[in-house]
């Protein structure tokens, strides 16, 4: 195992301990759940990082027709979905105890995040529809560029135009106005840590997919 992986283990352990132990200001209703900021928000940051990486590799594939880039794009998109699912589930639990419901259709960010994940699920359905690797790689790379371009609109532009319970939405104070400064001492390390962790998960996925691709090729074209 490389050094940076041990670094992630130590870093994330410190983030989790710090996230539970730091003194936070008391806010009615939110109470201790304000600590979810350290876990729920970095999930989305990790998802964005993975989807951006997936976009990079998809563009790289279209330019160079390098099959490794296609595998990388697939692995990054898969990891992004994993972190997106984490974000949705943690958000749902948090919502139950502060907003009063597991899920609400009146909350645009929640629903558009689910929609964004569905767009990425479609990416994998599209991939599974092709048997020929080159065709699959090219078409899914084009689709991936479309998919990632919807993310900023679904998760930043549209939710801010509508009334929403999330911070920063229309009529709500922005994140920077309502968040105590001391929360940032954990939040930013948590973002860095979770993005690094997602990179680790991506790397494991990529290595598995790469070997799978090679073994598929040797089975279909034995020498």
């Amino acid at each position: 195992m490389k050094v940076w992986k041990y670094l992630i283990i130590v870093w994330m352990s410190l983030v989790i301990v710090g996230g539970f132990l730091i003194q936070i200001p008391f806010i009615p209703i939110l109470e201790q759940t304000a600590r979810n900021l350290f876990f729920h928000v970095p999930m989305w940051m990790a998802m964005y990082a993975m989807f951006l990486m997936s976009l990079y590799h998809s563009i790289h594939y279209l330019r160079k027709t390098d099959w490794l880039a296609d595998i990388k794009a697939e692995a990054a998109a898969k990891t992004g979905i994993v972190f997106g699912v984490c974000g949705l589930l943690t958000g749902s639990l948090w919502a139950r105890f502060t907003w009063g419901t597991w899920w609400t259709f009146a909350e645009p960010k929640m629903n558009l995040a689910a929609l964004a994940l569905m767009i990425y699920v479609a990416y994998f359905m599209l991939r599974s529809a092709f048997d020929e690797p080159k065709k699959r790689a090219r078409i899914s790379a084009v689709y991936n560029i479309f998919a990632v371009s919807t993310i900023p609109f679904l998760l930043y532009v549209v939710p801010r135009q509508l009334t929403s319970l999330h911070p920063g939405a229309d009529g709500n104070p922005a994140f920077s106005e309502i968040t105590a400064a001391e929360l940032r001492f954990i939040l930013y390390p948590a973002m860095v840590g979770f993005i690094a962790l997602s990179y680790w998960v991506y790397e494991i996925t990529y290595r598995a997919y790469r070997v799978r691709y090679i073994s598929e090729q040797t089975i279909s074209n034995p020498q």
């Binding site: 989790i16 996230g19 539970f20 009615p28 209703i29 109470e31 201790q32 759940t33 600590r35 979810n36 876990f39 729920h40 999930m43 994993v82 699912v85 984490c86 589930l89 943690t90 639990l93 948090w94 139950r96 105890f97 502060t98 907003w99 009063g100 419901t101 609400t104 259709f105 009146a106 909350e107 009334t163 929403s164 319970l165 009529g171 998960v201 494991i204 996925t205 598995a208 997919y209 070997v211 799978r212 073994s215 089975i219």
Partner: protein
Amino acid sequence: MYLTQLLFVVMSMFQDSTKVAPMDTLSVAYSDKWMAAANQGEGFFMSFMSSNNLIFVVLGVTLIIWTVLIVYLSRVDKTISKLENQLNHSSNEA
């Protein structure tokens, strides 16, 4: 049979009591009052989660992340095991 009973017990644990969510967020778009915490409903799960200033919600969130990551990694593990089996199989043939 037992599985369905167990499923029922688990589901009733998570179910809210007859009093549904105190604020109807399905039809009311946004209210400046978050009334959820005032009335969390009954049941073991709800009262446990609401105790100690909602700290167990944070525990639940970390456990969700942990579970999803472990489930995902065990799936990748399975993919790798399958490849290893294939590799062993083909090297035995040769």
